[in-house]
Symmetry: C2
Subunit: 292 residues, 2 copies
């Protein structure tokens, strides 16, 4: 290689050193010695912890300082903050820096990136690593978080091949399995398998929590409830952003889901045991096939 920079970034700026940004930093440091990782986080306590834990080489206190001279800038902030962050860094990034993100929704992030980056969107690489956890913050970061996990890279008509390839190699160095998807397909699939269950789980806990005798209900909740509601322990701010960002998919999917609930209600209303058992059986069989 004439220029190692081209396939191997030397200086990475992580904007938002939480679970995902922090784990990416740890995995990249593990994979490569000659790399410098600069971190920025609006939460100063979290940022100090990132430095103290050795997740980043240096903690900086302004976005401009973070992205200065960075080869790769990873935006690892909640999707609702992408626009603000991109606006702040757009004028200070170098002419060759690659910008990438790790947001759970892609349509709205891409829209914002196009609007703010203009022609520089050819160096924007939209990514979604599939490695959630209820815990957040840099203390939950682990160098093996992405090992053998899927990382979706969105195929666009605007990203240049080289930035795409560089980011792909970074994630491969983290142990991830790269999956390619279009933006619409991504938002539709994750709207159903991830965002919708979060809303359903939050809603069940809200349903119980807002009863005057909530305590009795929670007292008798057991392991099925625990599993079903684990994702309701996730960050409200992050999931508010995701819901808003994938709003159109979710409004559609909530209607479809409620059509199915009404089908179930009708079967129950008319005491159609065969229809109910068949409904459950289709789901049970599919769940078993999936887990096998």
């Amino acid at each position: 290689m004439a220029d190692p920079y081209q396939t191997h970034p030397r200086r990475i700026a992580i904007i938002g050193v939480g679970l995902i940004g922090g784990s990416f930093a740890l995995a990249m440091r593990e994979a490569s010695r000659d790399i410098t990782i600069v971190g920025y986080d609006k939460d100063e306590v979290n940022l100090a912890a990132a430095k103290q834990l050795g997740v980043i080489d240096s903690a900086v206190h302004s976005l401009a300082a973070a992205v200065k001279e960075a080869d790769v800038i990873q935006l690892a902030v909640p999707v609702g903050q992408m626009e603000t962050v991109l606006s702040e860094i757009a004028k200070v990034i170098s002419a060759t820096a690659i910008i990438t993100d790790v947001g759970s929704t892609k349509g709205n992030v891409i829209e914002v990136a196009k609007k703010i980056l203009g022609a520089a969107v050819n160096r924007f690489v939209p990514v979604h690593p599939i490695a959630g956890a209820e815990n957040s913050g840099v203390r939950a970061a682990r160098k093996d978080l992405f090992n053998q996990k899927s990382v979706v890279m969105v195929e666009t008509d605007f990203t240049d091949p080289l930035p795409f390839e560089i980011i792909r190699r970074c994630w491969q160095a983290c142990g991830a399995r790269i999956e390619l998807m279009t933006v619409n397909r991504h938002d539709s699939v994750f709207g159903v398998v991830s965002h919708l269950p979060h809303i359903l789980s939050y809603t069940l806990v809200y349903d119980i929590a807002t009863r005057i005798d909530a305590e009795t209900f929670f007292h008798f909740a057991a392991s099925g409830f625990r599993d079903f509601t684990r994702i309701a322990g996730s960050s409200p701010e992050m999931w508010k952003d995701i819901a808003l960002a994938n709003r159109e998919t979710l409004l559609l999917e909530l209607l479809r889901y409620q059509d199915l609930l009404r089908y179930f209600q009708d079967s129950l209303e008319s005491q159609d045991g065969e229809a109910i058992e068949n409904f459950f059986k289709i789901a049970r069989d599919a769940r078993r096939d999936w887990s096998d």
Copy 2:
């Protein structure tokens, strides 16, 4: 004690030697040496396994033979089969035998018991051990399944004190924590914390399984989906019975749940981020308090 029979059954008949009946048998054998456990199961393969695994002392092949001379008869069949089983045994049970059940719903089981047992309902003790698992069948049975787990005993106006006390001691011998509830309270609480989440989880998997491109969706489903849908791996027959048995509670709770979903949809439609975040936050905080 003048008569050890009064507080300590010598012969227990388990009707339906599955996860719950089998685990009760194992725990009772562990707690007491001078006890004989007779098992009946309409699934002959499961029944043979129960005998072979030492869960029961003898396997019998008719309900009449099972309940003959039994001090305690535990009905551990799906709630939809209670009526058939009770009808078959009503004429052959002894004049002192205690009948008890382990059904997940109580209102309909009590209704059936009153109808079929008549005056003998004073020896009927309705119980619900809170120890589910997706696995079923005697091979999943464990002697410590109820250890430190809640077992709800329904307080009725028809059960005599002595049968109630004898069954209470059996469950205490299994290591269970006894909780007392009225029948309506029981069905309402478990309708919300257990039955409703099962329906919601089955419905989400059904939603995905019935799409033409279900495979892609399942491919990207990750840990949040896994936890949320674990209960959709449960027995369709058993949960069909539970849904039918707790039909009125569930029809009501499904309406309440969908009212809350519509509140969420309205907030999303109008892009009211504050309302969405607050909705999630109330749920998140309650879920955290519960798990602590």
